[in-house]
């Protein structure tokens, strides 16, 4: 059996000519839709992948406004729909459609990517939502079963997660950054080999903290529902995110000029789908920032750090993650900081928060209100911001 690594991953090592052929097929499919017909007229087929930059963009707004009009298959071929309420305006729903094959492609990606972290006989805990059919938990657990990994049952609260992890001590833990961080603070006796963080921005300090608490390797995954939950995963210790080149083309564009960025330059991540059946993505502006490079001739993501609008909050997360007495935090509209702490409040906590923020050069809160995490029984997940 060949070694599980990026070079052997079907999702990553896809030759350019194959990608171009798939891209043109996908664009042809999209061009049959009224939304794309005029926009793509006279521009297809593309002669090379670089000429993708001549096509118009699409955005989250288009998906919200057009919904199922952006689907390129009949309703009976839709296997799963994910409806996401967008933040802010109430009642606005973003619906993403998948066929059985779209789901299968995600499952292949998850299996190959997870094989870098675990294999036959290992135990994995998935602390993520989506237990319904073809939801995130469901697909990921099937992908793990495909490679012989035993998946622990889903949990619905932090205390349930803590009980399960204490009992099972899994080899791999998959979850949201602040959620897993909290568990690593509360349960230092666990010994996972790997932790995979996903679905949110991962502060560097938080990654280091989990890695030290459990003496494990922490890797990141970047994806969104629009890409069928998964898009790029970090190979352990490489610091590089390997994207699904077999299923998508990504570009990094300058957010002022909208022109393609050069290697290493930061810009917005724009994604076009290759094999997607239900809802082909054409130059979809994710709103997330990142940069790219090449590895063995194939494009890789160097990092993805989420939406620009959330950057001030990111700096607070980066500064406060190392404070192990802190479970979570959020800011009120009045500029007060609510801090969820583990155990009883101690006089030095306030100073610790203020000095961490001062050191990072951040604006200090008007007031800090400490609440006991165990009494509140919930996390704010103020840090859970759309990514």
């Amino acid at each position: 059996m060949s070694k599980a690594c990026p070079e052997n991953a079907q999702f990553f090592s896809c030759p350019e000519e194959v990608r171009l052929e798939k891209l043109n097929e996908s664009l042809k499919r999209a061009s049959t839709l009224p939304f794309w017909r005029e926009k793509l007229e006279g521009l297809l087929p593309l002669e090379n992948l670089a000429s993708l930059s001549a096509l118009p963009f699409s955005s989250e707004e288009d998906i919200i406004a057009c919904g199922e009009k952006l689907t390129a298959v009949s309703a009976t071929d839709i296997k799963r729909v994910v409806s996401l309420r967008t933040s802010g305006t109430s009642g606005r729903v973003k619906r993403i459609f998948f066929t059985e094959n779209d789901i299968k492609l995600t499952r292949i990606f998850f299996s190959e990517g997870m094989a870098w972290l675990c294999g036959e006989g290992d135990k994995a805990a998935i602390l993520m939502p989506g237990v319904s059919p073809d939801g995130l938990f469901d697909i990921l657990s099937k992908s793990l079963l495909d490679i012989g990994v035993n998946v622990l049952p889903p949990v619905s609260s932090v205390s349930e997660a803590a009980d399960l992890l204490s009992k099972e001590n899994p080899d791999v833990i998959i979850g949201l950054p602040w959620y897993v961080r909290l568990l690593s603070v509360c349960l230092p006796e666990l010994s996972p080999r790997y932790v995979l963080l996903s679905a949110d921005y991962v502060p560097r300090s938080l990654k280091k903290q989990i890695s030290e608490n459990w003496e494990c390797t922490v890797v990141e995954h970047y994806g969104m529902t629009e890409t069928g939950y998964g898009f790029a995963v970090e190979y352990p210790k490489s610091g590089i995110m390997y994207p699904r080149n077999n299923d998508f083309c990504f570009e990094i564009i300058n957010t002022d000029t909208f022109l393609p960025c050069k290697v290493g330059e930061e810009g917005e991540i724009v994604i076009s789908s290759l094999g997607r059946e239900a809802m082909p993505l054409v130059r979809y502006r994710t709103g997330d920032l990142g940069s790219f490079d090449y590895k063995n001739g194939f494009p890789v993501l160097i990092y993805a750090k989420g939406k620009k609008a959330f950057f001030p909050a990111r700096a607070y997360e980066e500064a406060l993650a190392p404070l192990s007495f802190l479970a979570d935090f959020r800011f009120t509209d009045e500029g007060e900081m609510e801090a969820l702490i583990l155990g009883a409040e101690k006089p030095e906590y306030s100073d610790a928060v203020l000095s961490a923020l001062s050191r990072a050069g951040l604006k200090l809160p008007e007031k800090i209100i400490f609440c006991n995490f165990h009494e509140e029984g919930k996390l704010f997940f103020a840090s859970k911001r759309s990514m």
């Binding site: 729909v81 994910v82 409806s83 996401l84 619906r95 319904s132 939801g135």
Partner: protein, 65 residues
């Protein structure tokens, strides 16, 4: 006796639809609703308002990540 709906005739059987409790399945959940049904062939009629209203609302609620 099921309530007969005047003016709503099954195109295939030519008989008036009746109101009947029907069970809907979606995302491994089931729920019941009273809708017009052909008493002969059992074909269900879903009004546009129901499809775009209540049904769409429930679908969105169930279509989690």
């Amino acid at each position: 006796m099921a309530e007969i709906i005047e003016g709503l005739v099954c195109g295939k059987c030519g008989v008036n639809a009746v109101k009947r409790q029907v069970t809907f399945d979606y995302m491994r959940r089931t729920f019941g609703h009273e809708v017009p049904v052909c008493p002969k062939c059992g074909k269900v009629f879903i009004a546009k308002e129901l499809a775009e209203g209540k049904m769409a609302e429930v679908e969105v609620m169930l279509e989690d990540k």
